[in-house]
């Protein structure tokens, strides 16, 4: 059992005690970002968002220092704002979340709040003003009633978490120029995956996504799972050994920035 004890000890290591330093490092990189912004082609998040309100936000003064890196962080921030507000409302709605499930959602909510704060400070450190929180409509124009129907609350929670996993992954290439941001993005990405697995299992699904099937999800969430059924990775057929279910579930697929923004856009007024 020695190994397990060592592993447990390492889980509590001091890896993050230097976080203030890390953010200082980020700010020093911001200088580079400012110079690079002139030469770089912005991802154009504003154009990807479906609502004019959001376009205004991203074309404000913050756009001066826009880079693919900060655009990726702005997209992440939008998704985290959405999740943060969703769980806050859910937890604050009397009688919605059964007592037995509150611990899980309190933990998820805590992480989403922390992610919002982290991304805001990361953007600020990079010399970019964090986008302001959009106005959300979690009924998506009257199509869902997540705060009066717990099953719908779970359904949308699953959709948001599975979207988050794919969206962060889709930005990997845009953040890899900055190793600190890349590592932090990976660290958030795996937290979203832990959340997704838990919520999925609370809906009697597997924690992982087999084929392009979200698992007892309404068709409105199909874009969240589109393309998840891939069974060829870099030319390797992942379905050969155990079939397409296992082969597709062994890999989570990316979601492009535009697809992720479109999904979030459904819930933005």
């Amino acid at each position: 059992m020695n190994i397990l004890r060592i592993l447990d000890k390492l889980s509590n290591d001091k890896f993050f005690t230097g976080e203030a330093t890390r953010l200082q490092t980020l700010s020093s990189i911001a200088d580079f970002g400012k110079k690079a912004a002139v030469a770089s082609v912005p991802l154009g998040l504003a154009g990807l968002m479906s609502t004019p309100a959001h376009a205004e936000t991203t074309t404000s003064s913050a756009s001066m220092f826009k880079t693919p890196l900060t655009d990726a962080l702005q997209l992440a921030l939008t998704l985290e704002y959405l999740e943060d507000e969703y769980y806050r409302i859910g937890l604050a709605t009397a009688g919605l979340i059964p007592t037995a499930d509150r611990t899980v959602f309190s933990q998820i909510s805590k992480h989403e709040t922390a992610h919002v704060a982290f991304l805001k400070s990361a953007l600020t450190s990079l010399g970019t003003a964090p986008g302001t929180k959009p106005t959300f409509d979690f009924t998506a124009g009257g199509n869902f009633t997540p705060f009066t129907n717990y099953q719908q609350f779970l359904t949308l929670a699953q959709a948001f978490e599975d979207t988050g996993v794919r969206a962060y992954k889709g930005q990997a290439g845009n953040v890899m120029s900055n190793k600190d941001v890349l590592t932090a993005a990976l660290q958030i990405h795996s937290v979203e995956a832990r959340h997704a697995s838990q919520v999925r299992r609370m809906r009697a699904n597997k924690g992982w996504i087999e084929l392009a099937n979200g698992g007892n999800m309404p068709s409105a969430t199909d874009p969240v799972y589109a393309g998840e059924g891939v069974t060829v990775q870099a030319g390797f057929n992942t379905a050969t050994a155990f079939g397409p279910e296992a082969g597709s579930a062994a890999y989570d697929e990316v979601l492009s920035g535009s697809d992720a923004a479109a999904i979030a856009g459904l819930f933005i007024v």
Partner: protein, 237 residues
């Protein structure tokens, strides 16, 4: 610069084990030969000429071999679990462990094919493992080991991402690490259902960030499972 991996599935089955060892011995002899001729530049050496210990290598190949080593470990562990389930296992838990076994074997064989295609002379051989202190008949012991392996896998990928230079490899690692995190969450929930443990405060810090570990810390932690020694000099292992 950017090399896209493209591999065929043909050789993705079990073992070219022996052949790899033979191939490796060949490389070892060749390098030893160079050393005798007076080559002092060991930067590109795959194998320490002084021993038979494999080095994971440099650059992206080193990271891929590192991932391959961890996936070999996970696949080996779950193979043992599903071949002799612990006492009193439920059907639901059998399904979960069977899925984990499938996913990890697929990951392992993927890396074998990927590295075999991109750097056939630098691929880590098939490793042997040991599980001192693990009682495969005990639910508690198997779940605790699975939890440690999955959490370590997540922290390892999170920590190694910054060492990857090819964006395609980074995305592939990303596709795998989130599945490892899904596993970790499920195992943790089996241990302590409906608690906060699925993404517990022991792994997620106050900023909402999961663990990211340096390779040397991962190998120190999981090293006891590795019966076959290896080095990764570029990362101080």
């Amino acid at each position: 610069m950017k090399k896209t991996i493209s591999v065929s599935n043909g050789a993705a089955t079990l073992d070219t084990n022996r052949r790899n060892f033979l191939k490796l011995s060949g490389v070892g002899l060749a390098i030893a030969g160079l050393a005798l001729v007076g080559c002092n530049d060991d930067d590109d050496m795959i194998i320490d000429p002084g021993s038979n210990v494999f080095d994971l290598g440099t650059g992206d190949v080193g990271v891929l071999n590192y991932a391959y080593a961890l996936e070999q470990l996970e696949a080996d562990f779950y193979t043992k679990v599903v071949n002799s389930f612990y006492t009193g296992i439920s059907d639901a838990e059998k399904q979960i462990f069977t899925d984990l076994y499938h996913h990890e074997v697929i990951h392992r064989d993927f890396f074998k094919a990927a590295i075999g295609g991109a750097a056939p002379n630098s691929i880590l051989p098939t490793l042997e493992f040991q599980y001192n202190g693990v009682d495969f008949k005990s639910r508690t012991s198997v779940l605790a080991t699975a939890k440690a392996l999955e959490d370590t896998g997540v922290a390892a990928y999170n920590g190694a991402g910054k060492y990857i230079t090819n964006p395609d490899y980074l995305v592939l690692a990303g596709k795998i690490v989130s599945v490892e995190a899904r596993h970790a969450s499920a195992i943790r929930d089996l241990i302590n259902p409906k608690s906060a443990d699925f993404s517990g405060d022991d792994v997620i810090n106050a900023m909402g960030l999961d663990l990211a570990k340096e390779p040397k810390d991962v190998v120190t932690a999981a090293g006891g499972f590795f019966k076959t020694p290896f080095t990764w000099k570029e990362r101080g292992i």
